[in-house]
């Protein structure tokens, strides 16, 4: 019984991590490098968008991603009753 719920907990964790890492990949490798040329045609303020993702945006999103993950995991821990005292 315990094992069943642990398996489910792990499955949900891996799913969350995969989702976060897809975003991680898209903003840095995707927007910052692979798609930088088409995105550079768009301007936000004095920044070309692709350049902005590579030198600013990706880093802000990295920070947000870690806190999002940390927060979601905290809830998941509670849901499955595996959080620490």
């Amino acid at each position: 019984m315990v094992d069943k719920s642990r398996e489910e907990y792990w499955r949900r964790n891996v799913k969350l991590v995969t989702g976060c890492l897809i975003v991680w990949f898209i903003v840095s490798f995707g927007f910052g490098i692979i798609l930088v040329h088409p995105l550079n045609a768009i301007m936000i303020g004095g920044y070309k968008l692709g350049f902005w993702f590579a030198q600013q945006g990706s880093m802000y999103i990295f920070v947000a991603l870690i806190f999002f993950y940390s927060n979601k995991m905290g809830k998941l821990d509670k849901e499955f009753g595996v959080e620490e005292e």
Binding site: W10, Q55, E84
Partner: protein, 590 residues
């Protein structure tokens, strides 16, 4: 007050602070020494991790690299921050739950093999020592320039200071000191950036200033103007991509994986009270790192702009468009004296021409006979920046103190990782299992002393070491440590043989690939192929090979594990156990 007196005062004051903190928080037992009693608050731990992580390379070199590479330098920005996502989601919480002191201890126990543990120690020590050499060199350069002593004396002073607080403080002392160092270095980095951004664009926040309109009435955005200025002088556009896309991708990936595999960074996450804190602590660390890393692109671009504007004062090609050498500002002369900035009046007109000879075809029609700024060292940009912008002396002194803080904090963290690997893993874990806590502490202090001597010696006599060695440290960590830890957590099937073969294959291929182009053990004369894109395998830069090494490690580890027997039941149980936070408690005592 003269700049020199001011520098003595500011650097002296920050030093007194670090040493005071280190002595106040003297470690009492091994637990204290290694992991600060697991009592460090996640926000403070994040701050200390930030100081630990941001070395002389981040503080002094990176903005200079950005200034001259433009968009291509994004690989360093994304690579050195994106690794924290991997760390937070794939490693940190599980290693904290495992609850031991060192990375190699985890590998030894997860793969139920002392051989695996020793292979891990080998990887960790190699990566850390190479990294410390770079730091010692950085400390020597900053000290010698700011205190007016020779490079050798500068390194020796640095060695003594690092020794004092790493040896007597241990992790607790280092953690507290690093919090103070973070404050010094971030203040020293942002103050000049704010002033310069304000002057150029009227916007005090550098991150926004970089995307703002110039305050000179031209109506152009800063980056637009910089692109234009550079193109006019034959340079490549600042915001354009020069490196191949493959190398951009691979280099970024290598730096990210390497970040998540460096022992002194991973060790940080053993020091938080709970598993949940390990997750958020990585986030806080990245907040504090990103403060500097998002400022750096502004510092780089604005420094380049100021440099170009200082030299090219009028229209390109006009008779009085270039500054007269007799009228250059004081910073130009003082950097010339260090030999890091060199000017040669090739056409004898008494004015300075700074342009790209390959890009500017019609230079001769202006009477220009070649680029006259024959040397502009990238590493001087951050230190020279406040002077170029005409900021007061105390700001310049502060930047020096910040550079020293960055170099010292990273060196101390790395030395601690080395000491721990030697005394805890090799001596207590293998050669002398019966030594007491007191003896273990003694040996780790001896190991720190030894590592400082080795690093100091190599820093004094660098055998052709340079930035590529820092990349090697990352490549090593990426190709050996990260895959072994990740497989250990995410695959129950990974066994001892798989891990050992994987680590050796990843490490071996990466080392060989680098040595072929850089020379065996970095002796340039032994290089087997010229180090350029025509000779690289599939055009992959040796600095970017760590990612390939990591892939090889994963593949070998997976195949060998599946071809050999399953890990024992108790190991599979252990993996089950580290995957959930419950029951982490305090670290197991030894």
């Amino acid at each position: 007050m003269s700049l020199k007196v001011m520098t003595y005062l500011v650097v002296g004051a920050t030093f007194a602070l670090y040493i005071y903190i280190a002595i106040r928080s003297k470690a009492k037992d091994t637990n204290d020494f290694y992991v600060a009693s697991k009592g460090v608050h996640p926000v403070l731990n994040g701050m200390a991790t930030g100081a630990d992580w941001m070395s002389a390379a981040s503080f002094i070199s990176m903005a200079g690299l950005i200034a001259f590479l433009g968009y291509d330098a994004s690989v360093y920005l994304m690579g050195w921050t994106g690794g924290y996502c991997l760390l937070a989601m794939l490693l940190a919480p599980y290693l904290r739950k495992f609850g031991k002191f060192t990375v190699s201890e985890f590998i030894g126990e997860r793969y139920y093999s002392n051989a695996a543990r020793m292979v891990a120690v080998l990887c960790l020590v190699t990566a850390s020592v190479t990294y410390v050499i770079g730091q010692m060199k950085g400390i020597g350069v900053v000290f010698s320039r700011s205190l007016g002593v020779s490079f050798e004396v500068g390194i020796v002073i640095g060695m003594i200071i690092v020794f004092i607080y790493a040896v007597f403080g241990g992790m607790k002392g280092v953690t507290n000191t690093q919090i103070a160092q973070y404050c010094v270095l971030i203040f020293a980095y942002t103050v000049p950036a704010v002033f310069i951004s304000l002057t150029l664009t009227g916007m005090p926040i550098p991150q926004l200033g970089l995307g703002s309109t110039m305050a000179d009435g031209s109506g152009l955005a800063l980056l637009e103007k910089l692109d234009g200025t550079l193109v006019e002088l034959g340079f490549a556009e600042y915001t354009a991509q020069k490196l191949s896309t493959t190398n951009m991708l691979f280099l970024t990936m290598s730096l990210m994986i390497g970040t998540a595999g460096l022992p002194h960074v991973i060790m940080r996450f053993f020091t938080v009270p709970k598993v949940a804190d390990a997750r958020s602590s990585a986030g806080w660390a990245l907040v504090f790192i990103a403060l500097l890393y998002t400022t750096a692109p502004a510092v780089g671009a604005m420094a380049r702009m100021n440099l170009m504007d200082t030299i090219q004062t009028g229209a390109v090609g006009s008779a009085d468009g270039n500054i007269e050498y007799a009228k250059v500002p004081q910073w130009f002369k003082s950097w010339e004296a260090t030999g890091l900035l060199k000017f040669e009046d090739k056409n004898g007109d008494g004015r300075i021409q700074y342009y790209d000879e390959k890009g500017l075809k019609n230079a001769e029609s202006f009477g220009w006979k070649g680029n006259e700024m024959i040397k502009v060292d990238r590493d001087i940009m951050v230190l020279a920046n406040p002077e170029i912008a005409g900021l007061p002396n105390w700001v310049i002194a502060l930047v020096t103190a910040g550079g020293i803080a960055a170099a010292l904090s990273t060196a101390a963290g790395l030395l601690l990782a080395i000491a721990t690997a030697v005394s805890h893993d090799v001596l207590k874990g293998w050669l002398m299992p019966n030594i007491s806590d007191q003896q273990e502490l003694k040996y780790s202090r001896i190991a720190i002393g030894g590592a400082i001597l080795v690093a100091g010696y190599l820093g004094l006599n660098p055998p052709g070491f340079a930035a590529q060695v820092v990349a090697l440290a990352f490549g090593l960590a990426a190709s050996s440590i990260f895959p072994a830890i990740m497989m250990g957590i995410f695959s129950k099937r990974a066994n001892d043989k798989g891990a050992i073969c994987g680590m050796l294959a990843g490490l071996g291929t990466t080392l060989v690939y680098i040595f072929i182009y850089k020379g065996w053990f970095f002796f340039k004369s032994t290089a087997m192929l010229p180090d350029n894109v025509d000779n690289w395998l599939f055009g992959i830069n040796p600095q970017a090979f760590g990612f390939v090494g990591a892939c090889i490690n994963f593949a070998v580890s997976y195949m060998v594990s599946n071809m050999t027997e399953e890990p024992p039941e108790r190991i599979q149980q252990l993996v089950e156990d580290i995957r959930v936070p419950i029951g982490s408690g305090e670290a197991q005592d030894h």
